[in-house]
């Protein structure tokens, strides 16, 4: 994308005021999407974003500027702006870049750019037909396809030079079912760090049928009860609970600012001994997987909580440097227009030893959550809230009636401490987008069946 000698000169300019560290992050991203709504293929779109963000660090101050102009003149202008924002004083120095670490998407990836647009449109139609075939009560179907193909290049004043090619493909179906009780919605999405072969693993029909089934089930649902109750969370999507309720509190930037309930607690028992929590940027083709992070460091498997004991936080370059340690490969950014910060990759709770059916059977009454929706956490208090998008009552140890939407609310550290059953049935959930300080990045989630003895359900039942 940019010649090595140009990078060395640009880094030299960036360091010109005597800064401690400088970095060039360049990105070339092509994306395409197609959508279908009400039987009509509404939109086929494509986009291209290309540019570089330059970061200069002097002491504790970071200066940042970005440019869409990848010529040497454009890069030098951005480097000057970033350097002046970081305001160092003193001598510059010369940067010698090491050998280029180059990654690329595996050969088995079918790059979306190599596939005709008609093939993408056909996927939409197949899903639309399958959803409509699910039942007469399906009133509306919308389908979305999206892919992105991203080349990144990172060079910094420590001599690091690394590049990566990242391909992601995603597919979403939303259905509205209409019945005597009004309208209900059902959604399903799949997404992996791979190309069009995603659809060999998961057909558009399967995704559509799942979305339709959720909407139809909810037509029969009754309002969720309110109050505190045992909650069993089924495998997969519940991982979002650990992402929000614990993961964010284990990000070193928040810990460093005292904005985390987990600050200063390394080595302590912070969770039930049944809990092992991992953030892992290397899980095969998961949505949050990448060979290197957006600071050029290799993705890693990081155990955050092991058998209930807090083992480590997640680190980006800057926070790790302040602590005199290495990055854990968690420096990520939304695009070249953004500064990197500590972000999760794929966050999951590992499998336990309990039989999932037994966990339900041994819960006399409560709520079974088959699918959790998005959530939010206050990292300083650990208080969280999540939407239940598919949930059922548990009565006498049996899963019974479906429930309409409601929220789960609780406190992350408290949930971690009180989990009293963890199943053997680990599964990853669907693709997620994590928002932090206004930046969205792709993340993966996962978890086995587990039980929390007391959580507050905020339902709409009278």
């Amino acid at each position: 994308m940019i010649d090595g000698e140009v990078l060395q000169r640009v880094l030299g300019v960036a360091l010109g005021n005597g800064a401690d560290f400088a970095e060039v992050f360049a990105e070339d991203r092509s994306s395409s999407s197609a959508s279908l709504d009400g039987g009509q293929v509404e939109e086929v779109t494509s986009g291209r974003e290309r540019g570089a963000g330059i970061r200069v660090v002097t002491g504790e101050t970071t200066g940042f500027a970005h440019t869409a102009d990848l010529s040497e003149a454009g890069l030098v202008a951005a480097a000057r702006a970033a350097a002046s924002a970081a305001r160092g004083a003193g001598e510059g120095r010369t940067v010698v870049l090491g050998p280029a670490g180059e990654h690329r998407a595996p050969d088995r990836v079918v790059r979306p750019t190599s596939v005709g647009k008609q093939a993408k449109v056909d996927l939409l139609r197949r899903a639309d037909e399958a959803a409509r075939a699910a039942g007469g009560d399906i009133a509306q179907v919308s389908v979305g396809y999206g892919d992105s193909h991203r080349h990144i290049l990172v060079a910094n004043s420590d001599g690091l030079l690394a590049g990566d090619e990242q391909v992601r493909t995603r597919f979403r179906v939303s259905c509205v079912a209409s019945g005597d009780t009004g309208m209900q919605t059902g959604n399903e999405s799949v997404g992996l760090t791979m190309g069009m072969e995603l659809f060999d693993l998961r057909s558009p029909e399967a995704t559509a049928e799942e979305a339709a089934r959720r909407a139809l089930v909810k037509l029969l649902a009754r309002p969720a009860p309110s109050g505190t109750t045992p909650v069993v969370i089924g495998p997969g999507s519940g991982g979002v609970l650990f992402h929000e309720a614990c993961g964010h509190g284990l990000e070193a930037d928040l810990v460093g600012k005292g904005a985390s309930v987990f600050k200063g607690r390394r080595g302590e028992l912070v969770a039930s001994p049944l809990v092992t929590l991992v953030d892992d940027g290397t899980v095969d083709t998961e949505w949050g997987t990448a060979a290197i992070d957006d600071e050029g460091r290799p993705g890693q498997r990081n155990v955050l909580i092991e058998d209930g004991v807090l083992t480590d936080y997640m680190w980006d370059f800057l926070r790790a440097r302040q602590e005199g340690r290495g990055s854990s490969g968690n420096g990520r950014r939304q695009s070249y227009k953004h500064l990197p910060m500590v972000r999760m990759t794929n966050t999951y709770l590992t499998a336990g030893t309990d039989d999932p059916d037994e966990i339900v059977a041994q819960t006399p009454h409560g709520v079974y959550v088959a699918k959790l929706g998005g959530g939010q956490v206050n990292t300083a208090t650990g208080d969280f809230v999540f939407g239940m998008t598919e949930a059922y009552l548990i009565e006498d140890g049996v899963i019974t009636e479906p429930l309409r939407e409601g929220n789960l609310i609780g406190n992350g550290p408290e949930v971690l401490r009180t989990i009293d059953a963890v199943g053997v049935d680990f599964a990853m959930g669907g693709p997620g987008t994590c928002g932090k300080d206004g930046q969205g990045v792709p993340v993966g989630l996962g978890q086995p069946t587990l039980r929390v003895p007391a959580l507050t359900v905020g339902g709409t039942a009278a």
Binding site: T45, T62, V176, Q376, G459
Partner: protein
């Protein structure tokens, strides 16, 4: 601006026979300063530009975008949009905006003083915001973020159907998140101030808001489950309005995704509630003379005394609904236009915030909600979100509460509004919100 308009007109002029072409071009700059422990933690200078091209041909629409305005990108993006247009389903209602008779209002939400402000003044504001917050109360243990930010943007749109418009806007803000600590417990509170020029920003107000919100939650606990009257503060009302705005979106209505479809002329809300979307009101941060398809902005009444007046439309949805655009197209250069509220505001009532609490007597003042995106279903209307705030007893705030949810349905909440505050606040996103009292909401807690 004129340069951007000329660029857009050039691309629109490349339309072939039987084809409509629209070019939307935008350019923006911005500065973000984060202060931490009396130093600049980061200073970012952003400059972006890009174009989006829409082609309609044979009733099919295609779109492509590029994050640059370099000359070769213009023709490449048009070619890509043209190619994309061959894959859609033909639609009789497809087509670009055509000039209507509405005169643009003379709103130019731009201030040369902001555009000319030097970085030092911005840095000073961020640092003093952090200082004022730390000094606000001995229980403040730290500041997670203290930010000065601004953005200035210009955009132009031109079509082969005769649209040629350009506009600009600028604004700045302060945002601070405070940490309060007592007895081993930490709470957070957020404060903001927004304006169009630096001297409109109020450091002390943003800081004291964050300090009050954080410290008053110390010692908070769950409240017992019950039904009660809640009072939303203006920030919470704004979050609620963003959901209501989605249900009044004409595109959602047409696609069977709004609970208000087919109910124009009916009383769907409390008679106390009047809601407008008015981007011609320069007080709103969503003010602009034109919408994102280049049609003049106009004042759209949505609820008048609780009666549903109509919906918001862009060109496509207006045409398909058998009416016309209400000038409600929104977009970035990287997306096709969609329909959306641009300056949604409640017409204020007569009660001050304190009078409103006195009137309610017994209930819950909600100062923050969470999980809005997962907890509200705009199709079914089910509404359940996490909340924190203060109980209201004898007409005044009492003990703080957290880790509770409040729930109802959108339909019921709109009908159950029992008081509208006079305390109109203009917030980021263009929203104008007041305090709002809503009766008979379920609180789930202990």
């Amino acid at each position: 601006m004129t340069e951007l308009r000329a660029l857009a007109e050039k691309v629109a002029g490349w339309a072939r026979d039987g084809e409509q072409v629209e070019a939307y071009v935008a350019r923006s700059t911005g500065t973000t300063v984060r202060a931490y422990r009396g130093e600049v933690e980061s200073l970012s200078q952003a400059a972006s530009a890009g174009l989006g091209v829409r082609v309609v041909s044979g009733g099919r629409q295609g779109f492509a975008s590029a994050g640059t305005l370099e000359p070769e990108a213009l023709s490449e993006t048009l070619a890509e949009a043209r190619d994309n247009a061959t894959f859609g389903t033909p639609d009789d209602h497809a087509g670009l905006a055509v000039p209507d008779e509405v005169e643009p209002a003379s709103v130019d939400p731009w201030d040369d003083a902001l555009a000319g402000t030097g970085t030092n003044d911005k840095v000073a504001l961020a640092l003093s915001l952090e200082r004022a917050t730390l000094d606000g109360d001995p229980r403040i243990s730290g500041v997670r973020t203290a930010i000065y930010g601004d953005g200035m943007g210009e955009a132009a749109v031109a079509t082969s159907t005769g649209i040629a418009a350009s506009w600009r806007s600028g604004n700045c803000y302060l945002s601070v998140s405070a940490l309060a600590e007592a007895d081993g417990e930490t709470q957070t509170g957020h404060g903001i101030s927004v304006g169009r020029r630096l001297d409109a920003l109020d450091v002390d107000e943003a800081a004291s808001d964050a300090v009050d919100r954080a410290t008053r939650l110390l010692g908070s606990r769950q409240a017992p489950s019950r039904r009660l009257t809640v009072v939303f503060d203006p920030h919470v009302t704004a979050s609620f309005l963003s959901i209501v705005g989605g249900t009044l979106n004409g595109e959602a209505v047409l696609k069977g995704r709004s609970l208000f479809a087919g109910r124009v002329g009916e009383e769907v809300a409390s008679p106390l509630l009047t809601l407008v979307d008015d981007p011609t009101d320069v007080a709103s941060f969503g003010a602009a003379a034109y919408d994102a398809e280049g049609l003049a902005s106009r004042r759209n009444a949505l609820l008048d005394g609780g009666v549903l007046q109509g919906f918001l439309y862009d060109t496509w949805s207006g045409r398909r609904a058998g009416t016309a655009s209400t000038g409600s197209a929104v977009r970035s250069y990287a997306s096709t236009p969609g329909t959306g509220a641009r300056a949604l505001a409640i017409v204020p009532g007569t009660l001050s915030a304190a009078e409103l609490l006195a009137e309610v007597g017994d209930g819950l003042l909600v100062q923050g909600v969470s999980g809005l995106h997962s907890g509200v279903n705009p199709v079914s209307g089910d509404f359940s979100v996490g909340a924190e705030g203060m109980m209201i007893r004898d007409g005044a705030t009492a003990e703080p509460v957290r880790e509770i949810t409040i729930a109802s349905t959108l339909q019921r909440m709109l009908r159950d509004v029992v008081a509208v505050g006079a305390d109109l606040e203009w917030l980021p996103g263009g929203t104008g919100a007041t305090s709002l009292a809503i009766r008979d909401v379920s609180l789930s807690g202990s």
